[in-house]
Symmetry: C2
């Protein structure tokens, strides 16, 4: 068989945009004069190890709507994994098997869509491929709601999560204003080490709404006494105080404000919960005011009905770009977004070497955070604002969004 094929997989935590990137890869292959078939590996690279594939080219041919529907479907169509490849110098057996699969399926290029940890896999596969002189191009496509990948202006999945956070804060604000009694509402938002998503809550502020009134990010030390003073001061000026807080806030010694569920995942990340709850109890105990906490939880990363069109269009374009770059021979890289201008908002697509990216995390620049450590500065708002613009024309049936059939995952 002289066909040149591609393979793609998804990995890490879900976003509402990762299937748009997958759709972009599929569209890129469909429009390519070089490639024939795109295979999807189920559950990240473990699908390659388990011989678990889907022929995505055939899947798209079944229904003309499938590509669009796929792009708008939340979570990962191909499933995910949190599998960390060993160092090939310690154990090269998975590598040998993976590259044999590449050979058997005539794979010219492999695309891995994921976050930091997935880029580590791209780095490792690239290094091994180079080591054995393999021609297979290995390209990473970014993904994360945390927006913390280096070398790219922002990441697919972030804009939609930010839109969800900002819309939810606005709706929570409306909900909070109805009672003419003093109250504090603490909203806990995802963000283990970077506060980008929590900062996006500021976009809810408008001509009649000043909430969130306080924003606490993991980039700066959190002080409980300062927090209580901030809240007390605001309660003099207004009835309802709304606080946005990142799940990853920590004190000056680096201890998370709450780590009640101290379990650790495969990559060594602490499983956090409870910063909002902890602050709720603190406010109740020290200030005695009516207080509630809202943990936005998983909904902020899978609410595809409120995806950002800017985000999904860019995610799709990045998938296509990865395919185009692989045709040019680019490898050991991640596709990237560069912001050409903000007003009007314009981006361009490029790539960066994977060694600069894997296992690095990008935090908010400190001068974008207020010196009082409880708010953000205008440059950060200007950075965030264009990313949430535009709504997806989701199809509804019987009152529910129409997403891709994921029987291949759900029936296990």
């Amino acid at each position: 068989m002289n066909q040149k094929n591609c393979m793609v997989a998804q990995s890490g935590g879900p976003t509402v945009a990762i299937n748009a990137s997958l759709a972009g890869v599929i569209a890129g292959v469909a429009g390519s004069s070089v490639y024939h078939t795109i295979y999807g590996s189920l559950n990240g690279i473990t699908g390659i190890l388990n011989n678990d594939f889907i022929n995505l080219t055939e899947l798209m041919e079944k229904d003309a709507d499938n590509l669009t529907r796929l792009a708008q479907t939340p979570a990962m169509y191909l499933g995910s994994c949190r599998y960390k490849l060993p160092n090939y110098l310690d154990d090269d057996s998975p590598y040998v098997f993976i590259f044999k699969q590449f050979a058997d399926y005539n794979i010219e290029a492999f695309f891995y869509i994921g976050g930091n940890d997935s880029m580590d896999t791209v780095l490792k596969l690239s290094e091994y491929g180079k080591h054995i002189g393999s021609p297979v191009r290995i390209i990473g496509i970014p993904k994360t709601i945390d927006n913390d990948l280096c070398e790219t202006d922002h990441t697919p999945g972030f804009g939609s999560a930010a839109k969800y956070i900002a819309s939810s804060l606005l709706e929570i604000a409306h909900d909070t204003f109805i009672y003419a009694v003093k109250s504090v509402t603490i909203v806990e938002i995802m963000g283990r080490d970077a506060g980008w998503l929590t900062a996006a809550s500021a976009l809810a502020r408008n001509s009649y709404n000043t909430a969130p009134h306080l924003i606490y990010l993991p980039e700066v030390p959190f002080d409980s006494e300062d927090f209580l003073l901030d809240v007390k001061r605001l309660l003099f000026e207004r009835n309802n105080v709304i606080v946005a807080v990142s799940e990853g806030i920590r004190d000056a010694s680096g201890n998370y404000i709450s780590a009640s569920e101290q379990s650790v995942d495969t990559f060594g990340h602490s499983q956090l919960s409870g910063a909002g709850k902890t602050l709720e109890f603190l406010v109740k105990e020290k200030l005695g005011v009516k207080v509630r906490s809202v943990e936005i939880n998983v909904l902020q990363r899978c609410a595809a009905h409120l995806a950002s069109k800017t985000d999904l269009d860019e995610s799709f374009a990045l998938g296509k770009k990865a395919v185009a770059l692989s045709e040019e021979g680019v490898t050991a890289s991640m596709v990237t977004l560069e912001r050409v201008s903000n007003n009007p908002y314009e981006v361009s697509y490029g790539y960066a070497e994977i060694k600069h990216i894997a296992n690095e995390a990008r935090s908010i620049p400190l001068d974008w955070i207020s010196p009082s450590r409880n708010d953000i500065e205008q440059p950060l708002i200007d950075y965030l604002a264009p990313l949430i613009v535009g709504e997806m024309p989701i199809t509804y049936q019987n009152g529910l969004p129409v997403y891709m059939d994921v029987s291949h995952l759900s029936k296990h």
Copy 2:
């Protein structure tokens, strides 16, 4: 002044439809040949006691889009209260003041939009009004996400909350399917005494998704051992088990499965939290499987961006109906919905005497719940399905929904 005016207020917990009912009342008065001005009392009836009003007729004249925008705005435009009128035989002072305000403002009819507790206020005002021979018509307009008001087929606000729950369950399901490892996801849904909203999670089931796999409602005793057996059995058949549980589930003795935050509000209702968290810990301890809980929290009652068009149209129509009934002299009543047919779905608008409604709560009929107490029957699904149909054409600006300016509430 010979003008005949009306007054309206909102009370209790918010929904995404209560402003649609308010808009319906305003539209009813605007189209009336009898009434001139509609005044809104801020923060429920406490606005009448504090002389805190808005001229809603003037407000609508300021901008042609205001009525539509109001109908689509979450929470309560007029603010809310949880104030319980005393028995007038014990203390008639608030009543004397309220009816004097009615006289001063030439109020012919007073509309109170709210749930069970608000209907108690309608009952009390009606009884006092009758006692003093007042001609003021007092009419209640139903509202609650719990769907537990008697005499009406369903309640405004419920359909939208149900749409949000069903859509979220579908999106959570997509999120859950991505890992090929055993896991349990417990979704805690609002519903202190009635399981209508939790039951709506079943609408997420479709051709590829069977979740939620288990549904636990407060109408039937919850047994922890049976629950664990249910989960264990399902984990043999599939990787990902998703459970929908009402916040108000209780054991055979009537004790809530969790009552960690045992505070009590003005009407004597326990403030519940933690059924989902309690079950998460139970599963972790007894089954040792990966488990997480999601408490949907306040978002299920204020996510106006995902409102049900069926719900909002009916809520608006009920507001108009209340005005029309007041012109006919109806008083001491609540407007109601009657389901004429299900296929096609059709309703009619009527009213019922308030004494049959106030302080009563309507639960799910037991034959609509599975004998195994962990699922619901087809008649309940058929009842729920039409209520979530249709989407509202929300206006977005800069990526966020455009709602009514609530400065009059938010600046306090």
